[in-house]
Structures are given as structure tokens and as C-alpha cells.
């Protein structure tokens, strides 16, 4: 079992004829993901390997029964691409692209919510369910293995770091979800935590946050009041200077809020163990659940 995706998920890749789109569509197929269609306006009727390309998401859904979309189109076109996927009736949209304007997301988010669509990202690595052999996004498949740990993270490569440590310890993953580092994310920590809590195959959760905003604080309160499964965390950015955007649009300490210290304090107050360094993420979880290989 897993959350959001499984072996039946049928994926359409928007922007499949671009460099990143075609490369990662192939990687997804190689992993086992059912990539049933691609979309590039004007390239309908062509193919990327065996994957048929359509002019619109609506056509792709009609012809192939795609129920999830993975977006690689350039940032200026993401608003359009997300709304097109929603309009076509896709239930899960994963937007990998980074650099989407904040106001575009402010415009898109209520429409996505109203349609009952699950949007992950933008500016995220996507998600992977090792047991279902389903990967939507750009996560390196080789470090994952099937298991019972849920991973949710605002960062890309730091997710890989955590997953690799878990796998090294023999702790496989039920699903790993990168929710992205933007100020307005389609899906937040709390929704993913709720899904992990409800997923019978997830036994414990690793939460990886970073400076900026108060999503981690709210997630901590949620864990305390709504979760029975063990959760451990890591927060990146203890040494980040205030007022500077640390790569991610959302990773900025402003007005003294959103510091790593305050987040770590709140997490600990809510009974969540926090790894001191990223090198300790795997060991912290293993310790928390009493795992010995």
C-alpha cells in the first residue's frame, strides 16, 4: 500500500517532448510507472519511445484513461498546465517545475482545491511508491526500497539523503513525497501526514522541513493531536542568515519568524524527535521505532 499513487496509477507527462520531460518520462517507465501519455501542444500524433503524445491533456485523458499528471513545462506556463490538467479531470497533478510565480499559485490553488484535485509541488521532486513501482517525478529510483516508512519533505536532495539512510538501515519506504520548497504548495505537510496516518502500510514517518513560514510548527501540532504513528523530523537551515532566500523561494527567515531554532523547539515540544544533523535522520528514526537490522 501507499498514499496517492499505486501500481494502477496512469500518468500523463505534460511537456514530454522537452529535455527534462522526455528524460524523466523514460526514467519513470524504466522504474515501472505506467506512463500512458504525453502532452505537448502542436506535437500531437507523435511518440516518445512507445508513449503517444497528444495536443491536450483532455485528449490524453480521453484516449488513455490517464488519472495523474506530471508537469515539466517551463515555469511561465505552469499555471496554464496545472489548470488544464484539472479541467481534464486528472485527480493527481505533480508539478516538478521550479520558479513558478507566487501569484500564479495564489490564483491556481483555490481552483485546484475546488475541483478536489491533489496538487503536489510546484518545485518538488515528486513522489514514489516503491511497492507499487510507481514514481512520478525525478527522485532517483535506485535508493528506494519497499517498506513501511513514510517520508515527507520540503527539499529534494535532502529527501534523497534521508531515504538513502533509511534504505541503508533496511528501512524501506511506503511512499516518499517531496512537497516542494515554494511559499504556496499544492499539498502541505498536514495533508500528507493525515494520509500516512490513514495508510495501513505506513508505520512511521520522517518529516523534513526547512526555514521559512510556519508549516513545520503546524505539522507538529497536528502530529501531537491527530497521529498515533511515530514521527521524527529534521529541519535544515540552522545556520541560514535572516532575510536571505536560501535557494527555495519559501526558505527565508523574515521578521525573526521561521527560524530553525523555533521550529525545532515546537517539534520537540510536541514530542517529535529531531535529528541533530542530516547524517542522523535514519538513525533517529531507527531509534524511535526500536529498529535493529
Amino acid at each position: 500500500m501507499s498514499i496517492y499513487v499505486n501500481e494502477h496509477t496512469r500518468v500523463v507527462v505534460q511537456g514530454i517532448t522537452g529535455g527534462a520531460g522526455s528524460y524523466h518520462a523514460r526514467q519513470m517507465v524504466a522504474y515501472g510507472t505506467k506512463v500512458v501519455a504525453g502532452v505537448t501542444p502542436g506535437k500531437g500524433g507523435t511518440k516518445v519511445d512507445e508513449i503517444p503524445v497528444f495536443d491536450s491533456v483532455r485528449q490524453a485523458v480521453k484516449e488513455t484513461g490517464a488519472d495523474a499528471s506530471c508537469i515539466f513545462v517551463p515555469a511561465p506556463y505552469c499555471k496554464d498546465a496545472i489548470l488544464e490538467a484539472v479541467d481534464a479531470g486528472v485527480k493527481l497533478v505533480v508539478c516538478i517545475t521550479e520558479g513558478v510565480p507566487v501569484l500564479d499559485m495564489l490564483a491556481v490553488k483555490p481552483l485546484v482545491d475546488r475541483a478536489g484535485v491533489r496538487l503536489i509541488g510546484p518545485n518538488c521532486p515528486g513522489l514514489i511508491s516503491p511497492a507499487g513501482r510507481c514514481k512520478i517525478g525525478i527522485l532517483p529510483a535506485s535508493i528506494h526500497q519497499p517498506g513501511h516508512i513514510g517520508v515527507v519533505s520540503r527539499s529534494g536532495t535532502l529527501t534523497y539523503e534521508a531515504v538513502a539512510q533509511l534504505t541503508e538501515l533496511g528501512l524501506g519506504q511506503s511512499t516518499a513525497v517531496g512537497i516542494g520548497g515554494d511559499p504556496i504548495a499544492g499539498t502541505g505537510f498536514i495533508e500528507v501526514l493525515q494520509a500516512f496516518q490513514d495508510d495501513p502500510d505506513t508505520e512511521a514517518v520522517v518529516l523534513i522541513g526547512e526555514i521559512g513560514g510556519s508549516a513545520e510548527e503546524k505539522a507538529a501540532a497536528f502530529v501531537k493531536s491527530h497521529m498515533t504513528k511515530p514521527v521524527i523530523a529534521f529541519i535544515a537551515g540552522r545556520t541560514a542568515p535572516p532575510g536571505r532566500r536560501m535557494g527555495h523561494a519559501g526558505a527565508i527567515i523574515s521578521g525573526g519568524e521561521g527560524t530553525a531554532e523555533s521550529k525545532i523547539r515546537v517539534l520537540k515540544d510536541c514530542g517529535i524527535e529531531v535529528a541533530d544533523t542530516p547524517a542522523d535522520i535514519g538513525a533517529t528514526l531507527a531509534g524511535r521505532i526500536g529498529w535493529k537490522r
Binding site: P140, S155, G156, T157, A164, G181, A249, P278
Partner: protein, 387 residues
Amino acid sequence: MKIHEYQAKAVLASFGVAVPRGTLATTPEEARVAAQGLGGSVWVVKAQVHAGGRGKGGGIKVAKSLDEVRDKAAAVIGMTLVTPQTGPEGRLVRKVYIEEGLAIARELYIAMVMDRETRTIVLMASTEGGMEIEEVAAHTPERIHKEFIDFQVGIQPFHVRNTCTALGLTGVAAKRAATFLPALYKAFVDKDASLAEINPMVVTADGDLLALDAKVNFDDNALFRHPDIAALRDTDEEDPLEVRATAHDLNYIKLSGDIGNLVNGAGLAMATMDTIQHFGGSPANFLDVGGSADRARVKAAFEIILSDNPKAILVNIFGGIMKCDVIAEGVVAAARDVGLTVPLVVRLQGTNRDAGREILAKSGLRITPVESMREAAEAVVRASRGE
């Protein structure tokens, strides 16, 4: 992206936000001519740098004659202005904005910012104009009035009425606010601002409402659709290394320590800095080389890191999209090209890790290869101490 006060006022004025009349000057004589052109008997000479708190540092001066305008401009232009926001090194003042003096009755605070929790645009107002809003927020948060504006619908008259009530604006001033605030909102959304702060917004003796100061920041990700705003960038106000990094699509921020680092991914880069500090070291920079770095970009990254004169460098790559062998080739080439002499600790994980490690081993360069993040941090901290 940040812009200067004079630029912000021009942008806001084009949307109908009332601002005092002013002229930019780069020499004392230009300043005097500017004041003459504005007319009146009182002028304000304002240093134009990308930092707040200019008044405290002596960057804003009142002049009561044209000669005084010239003399005060002469004092400000070329000065190194130190304010709470510039850091101790200060900022060189290259230009001044000459503005008409106003008869000020009240100083108020107005700002707009995107609120990620409520996913609205927040209109903040306070009677504590001229103060630093962070201090007001810390000590008297009840004095900050907030209106949450739904982006789908936009600013409504009730938002303006509520704000006027909170600020005690009545009569002519309230009428002016009904133009001022919607114009500010329109400028914010039309130009993809991330912050628009008017501190202070002044009420004049006549009841007029004007933006006496203006700070507007823009969403970098939206600059593609605002070439007019992008053209306002002043690279004189940015760290030269950061300007160079941006030209190479590198995410680089200069810090004060002595251990350079090159990492892929912003989260991992922050975490790497944290780990270095955890083991007693001090990072010299944040550098996210991005997801698709090639040899040229890795080389540029090395050159930028070396400009900080670090005592040791840590390369920490978790190959996903990025392949470790490609990075390894880039590291070796860059180390040779720049004649690297400082100790280099390299950690490669993920895609094509073994191929990457082999390239490093065969390079003949003095590279300390490490497996884990802990080892990486410990090794680079030791190296930075000459151990």
C-alpha cells in the same frame, strides 16, 4: 528583487499612488539644480541604497536653501552609509533623491505582503509610522491592523474603510485613502511584488496622503513578464560574487566563515552548512549548484568559492538527476584549471557514485573522498584547521 526608493515611487505613481515630487541626482550640482526645478523652500536629500534605516545612518538630510541642498548632497554622495540593515561594512552611496519638503501632520505605516498561511494578500496598517515594523510587531502587536485580501476578488471598499478606522483617517484623508490603497494593491498584483511597504505614509497639514518612503520587492520568478521592472535592477547594490553566481545560474550567498561548500539542492546545501557548524566549523558560503550542472558551471562555482579565500572546500553531491561521474569530471577539471591548493573534501552519493569516485581517485589531485555527511563535515573541519 529589490529596487531603490526613487524607482519604487515611480512604479507606484504610475498606478496612481500619491508620492512627493522628486528628482534623482548623482552629483551635488545636479542636486542643487534638481531642488531648483522642484521649487519651494525646503527639500530632503535622500541617499539611494538598498537598505532601510537610512535616516539613522545620516543618509537623509533636510535642506532649507539651494546651497544647503548642494552641500548636503556632497556630504551624502560618496559616503559609506551604515544602517542596521547594511551590516558594519556599510553601503557606498552613489546617488541621492531630492524631494520636496512636506508639512507633515501624521506618520503612518502601510504594507502589503503575501501571507502564505491564509493564502491572501495582507494589508498591514499601523499608526506607528516611521518605526521599524518588526519592533512594533514584537512590542505592541495590537497596533498592527491587518486586512486579508482574497486574490481572486481583490481589494474591496470595506478593506479601505476598516483600515481608515484603524488609522483614524477621516474626511479628506479617508477620501485619499480610497484611491491610495487600491492603487497600491493594483501595483502589487500587476507587477508581481512580494512586498510593498510605505513607511511612513504621511498625512499632510492639508489632509493629503502621500508615500513619503517606499520599498517594493518583486518576485524574481515573475520578472520574465515584467521587463520594465527587471531593467530596474542595480547590480552596484549586490555582492559582486552573487551577481557573478546569478549569471551562471548558481544559487550563492556569501557568509562569514572559512569553509567553502558546493552542494546540489538548496535543502541539502543548508543542511551541509548546518552540519559543518555542528562539528565546529564555519561555512563561508551557501552554494546550490542546481540540478543540471555541467563542467563549466562547476568550474564557475569553484572560482566563486575560491574568491572567498576558504581554508578548505567541501563538495557534497547527492546524484539524482545529476550524475556523480559528470560532477567528478567537473571537479577535477575545475581543480586543475584554477590551480586548487586548498584541501578538498568530496562526497559523492547516488547516481553513478562509483564511476565518480574512480575519476577522483585517478585524478592524482589531493582530494579526500568521504562516504557519509558526518565524515564529510568532520574531514573538512579538520582540514580547515590545517590538521
